[in-house]
Subunit: 582 residues, 2 copies
């Protein structure tokens, strides 16, 4: 999180505009995530002309976005939960929004300038100015949220100066444990764009299925997917990547390896240790199970063919995905799995170690990833796992980013203090699947008619009910998390941003929207403009009413976001709070 | 749960058919809930003729069901997750299913005979025999689930003898905290029928909104609903009730009173104490708050107009709903609410008690309910609340049923040992909304970056995350619950059955299907045919694979049931269990 002179300017502006922000709130015309600064001294509105148009320079990705927003603006006709109290000006209807962009060539990479300014005067054309087309897309979204009503009205006499705190604001979706259709992914990317989120972290493959069709390794999907109708073809990927560009959303692929690769064994049984075996063999200790959960298989680092296949996979993925980050996984090495393989048993009995195996794997893949001009992203386990981890010396920080998921702020600190850049998806805050109970069958510990033993992990009286990362993370839990908590100013600069994650043991298209939204919206605001008000106080109280309003607007846009409260709470602001308003 | 001679006969049959049940399992042709007895010694299938028809006597409610099942059967073309291994006979395609019903006049009341027998020979017509049209509907559902494939096949050489253990098998839906459209309710009733559930407990009104339009009290909905588009008109109710009859589902209305009535105050402010006030006034103790959660208001038993309005409401509801049970609520009297009202303060200062107030209320409404030929259902609080409850003598067991929600089997025992019939919806097992965190806003206890204090109710490290009834109840949790646990045989006879409940603080149409299904399916099987196999062992392990299969079939029928596991688990039966198959 680096403050440049531009955002410093924003901070000064925001202090001066405290009063106008209050007015904005009272009018119920809200933008989510809340912009860094809105100046709207006299809340008023202007009619939007039925022949309203957006004037914009041509750009391959921006122009489709402009057309999309024009359609949305003219058709949405959003009705706020509470009728806004702003005055309608008697000036002519707004006819034009004019876009001015400094640099039409800046690519959609991490850290690209996403700032914009938006001016909607009471008379004359509205203006949106941005350094890049990606900033312009953020401004278009803001503009769209300032419009409401059956007879379209737009907030006017208004000035927005906006930019994100964090450059990496993502959603992880696991499409291996259960499959999602291309349309589901596109809808998710569209919703992300509405929330100014910019990274779709696609956890494509895992032990359960390999849905990605790769030209050099077609058998991986042909045999390892759930079926021909549950695959992503190269054309599907191109469509998703292109859709991402048109929404300012990077599509970051993850091919998890060497663990989480059971599905690879359908095509290449010889390169996968312990593939598709019972996950926790009778009589073994919990620590010696073959996988963290059902669905076993780790690539075998001793087999030369492992690397032939991996080069094909990595090469194809780098061709399909222009994104400069490549996520290589490397989480949850289970010693039991590797130890179950005869070739590895021989290696170990000759004095080899599991650490050497993982280092062999990394040394045989990481340089190739870097050679393709990619920054490698790994899960934190690769250097922080308690049992099997590599020497950090083989992963230079200039080419490596680590994603944290365990132990909250503590592991973020360990990553950045080792000099690595960090992406934060702490399971205690950002895992959207948690708190849904266990999914493992034949679970005798669930069968209790009365109070449970304290300490039973399946305790249903005050326990987690079998969810390792329970309880459920409410939107307030997500909203309140400070991803640079406990870091020095220098360390905090290494935190690129955060990602909420939907792992799909108990999710597929039927529940996708409601599991992600509006909780991802909560993270989106915290990472865009923060979770504190101008006085430095956490703003979760007033955010409740704004998020209610935004949730209903998302539903109107076709995103099945779950309700966070009874509608009564939204129509009676503050009345569902824990503490009485003063 | 009374065993009559018929079900005793079934028990004997089921012992003899253990082998054939195993075959049924291996073939992956499953019926959910599992019938009491399937005899299918040599699993085989016959083609279903494209001109297949169902022959049935005419009946106002059965005939639409027959037409519906015929359409479903000919269009569903279900593909089981694992291709069935049964042999296709070379006999002619099945042309007819013939229905024989003993009594075409038996009304859809609690305890009506729902038994049926279904015979599908390898040659000739299939036969469905039932005592009533309601039993015939159960048999039609079973028949529909025995058909699969693009080219329709039906299991043959098969005999089913089936009937429910419990007569009351319900789903409660709260349409006050958030509104659900009529189509959402119809879809839920249709899904209930597919699961052989037979009571839609409609918690229509509460403090948050009063969506029911009543001819004698139109202002209650006009002013107390969320808006004109969020009401249920008399025509809507008639449609829902009729739809219920055509699906063998009773529609049991609940008008919760005297608590949970804040919404009544919009039309009649003078009859509601503490209406629409802040729920937990600053400086008061937790026990003295005005409501259990935001949304305040209790009817005032001292005001004569209270009873005028109530007679209109009860009378209209009894006219709209032919169902012989009338649910009158009476849960969660908060002393703080009544004590906040000036007229009640005077009553109390003159020596009156809160108990007298509630008894006054019951004595002024219960006889009227009974006079309309209704059995009154109350929440258990009416006699079990720790503070405000009535003398059981004023609620004779012959006209009163109590619904339990607290304290698991202990409260069921208290209810039946007092001689009342019980409906079980223990929150520890059957509340489908639990484990979703708190919904109250401005919740400062959520804002923790690290480990929580033990004992903090909002503990996010192993706690409930703000959900009073957390954690989330998994389908296994629901399935394993024995609703007569700890009762004597005589006491058990007073347990009419159970209901899963969806309270709507954090639910509306966007999440309806996934919150209810397939967890309500789990209860449906336990209440229909039990949760134990022929040896008396709980059958949750084999139920996992069957429920997976049933969940996918429900999704194909348009019910957005949530997945319970990765698809990999369903295609690899037993591999996602906790314990390795032998």
């Amino acid at each position: 999180m680096s403050l440049n002179s531009f955002s410093l300017f924003i901070s000064i502006i925001s202090l001066c505009c405290f009063t106008s922000l209050i007015s904005s709130l009272q009018s119920q015309i809200n933008v989510w995530p809340k912009p860094r600064t809105i100046s709207w001294t006299h809340p008023q509105a202007t009619l939007l002309s039925p022949t309203f148009i957006i004037l914009s320079p041509y750009h391959q990705h921006l122009s489709p976005a402009v057309n999309r927003y024009l359609r949305l603006i003219l058709s949405e006709r959003h009705r706020p939960i509470i009728t806004p109290t702003v005055n309608l000006t008697s000036t002519p209807p707004l006819q034009f929004l004019t876009l001015s962009i400094t640099d039409l060539t800046a690519p959609l990479h991490h850290g690209v300038d996403e700032s914009y300014t938006l001016t909607i005067p009471t008379v004359g054309s509205a203006n949106l100015t941005a350094g890049t087309v990606w900033g312009a897309m953020r401004g278009l979204e803001t503009f769209s949220q300032l419009i409401w009503g059956d007879q379209l009205r737009v907030a006017s006499g208004l000035y927005v100066l906006d930019s994100p705190i964090f450059g990496h604001r993502g959603v992880l979706l696991d499409t291996s444990r259960n499959y999602y259709g291309v349309e589901d992914i596109l809808r998710t990317i569209e919703a992300m764009s509405s929330n100014k989120l910019n990274v779709f972290h696609w956890h494509i493959t895992d032990s359960h299925s390999f849905p990605l069709v790769l030209p050099s390794e077609p058998e991986l999907a042909q045999k390892g997917s759930y079926g021909p109708e549950m695959q992503y073809s190269p054309a599907d990927v191109r469509r998703i990547v292109e859709f991402g560009f048109e929404h300012g959303v990077r599509v970051l692929p993850e091919i998890d390896a060497p663990g989480h690769t059971g599905s690879w064994a359908k095509a290449h049984p010889e390169i996968v240790a312990c593939a598709n075996m019972f996950w926790w063999p009778t009589g073994t200790e919990w620590a010696d199970r073959f996988a963290s959960e059902p669905g076993t298989g780790h690539l075998n680092p001793l087999i030369p063919k492992t690397y032939q296949v991996l080069r094909n996979v990595i090469g194809d993925v780098a061709t399909l995905f222009p994104e400069p980050f490549y996520h290589s996984g490397a989480d949850e090495i289970n010693p039991g799995c590797w130890k179950a393989d005869p070739t590895i048993q021989t290696f170990l009995s000759n004095g080899g170690t599991l650490t050497q195996l993982l280092e062999m794997f990394v040394n045989s893949t990481f340089p190739y990833i870097v050679s393709l001009n990619r920054t490698a992203v790994y899960w934190e386990d690769v250097i922080l796992d308690s049992t099997v981890k590599v020497d950090p010396a083989i992963l230079p920080p200039e080419n490596t980013i680590l994603q944290t998921w365990n132990n909250g702020p503590n592991n973020t600190k360990r990553i950045v203090s080792a000099g690595y850049r960090a992406i934060v998806s702490s399971s205690d805050f950002y895992y959207l699947d948690c708190g849904h109970g266990g999914f493992v069958g034949n679970e005798s510990r669930v069968d209790r008619q009365t109070g449970d033993d304290p300490g039973n992990p399946f305790n249903y009286n005050g326990g987690n009910g079998g969810s390792w990362c329970g309880p459920f993370k409410t939107w307030q839990r997500v909203y309140d998390y400070d991803i640079t908590y406990g870091l020095t100013e220098e360390e905090a600069k290494l935190v690129l941003g955060g990602e909420v994650a939907l792992w799909s043991e108990q999710a597929d298209a039927t529940v996708l929207d409601a599991r992600i939204w509006p909780r991802a919206s909560a993270m989106a605001e915290t990472l865009w403009s923060g979770n504190r008000d101008e006085t430095g106080k956490k703003r979760y109280a007033e955010a409740t009413d704004r998020l209610n309003e935004w949730r209903y607007r998302m539903v109107g846009r076709g995103i099945g976001a779950e309700p966070i409260q009874p509608l009564w709470c939204a129509t009676n602001p503050g009345m569902c709070n824990l503490v009485q308003p003063l």
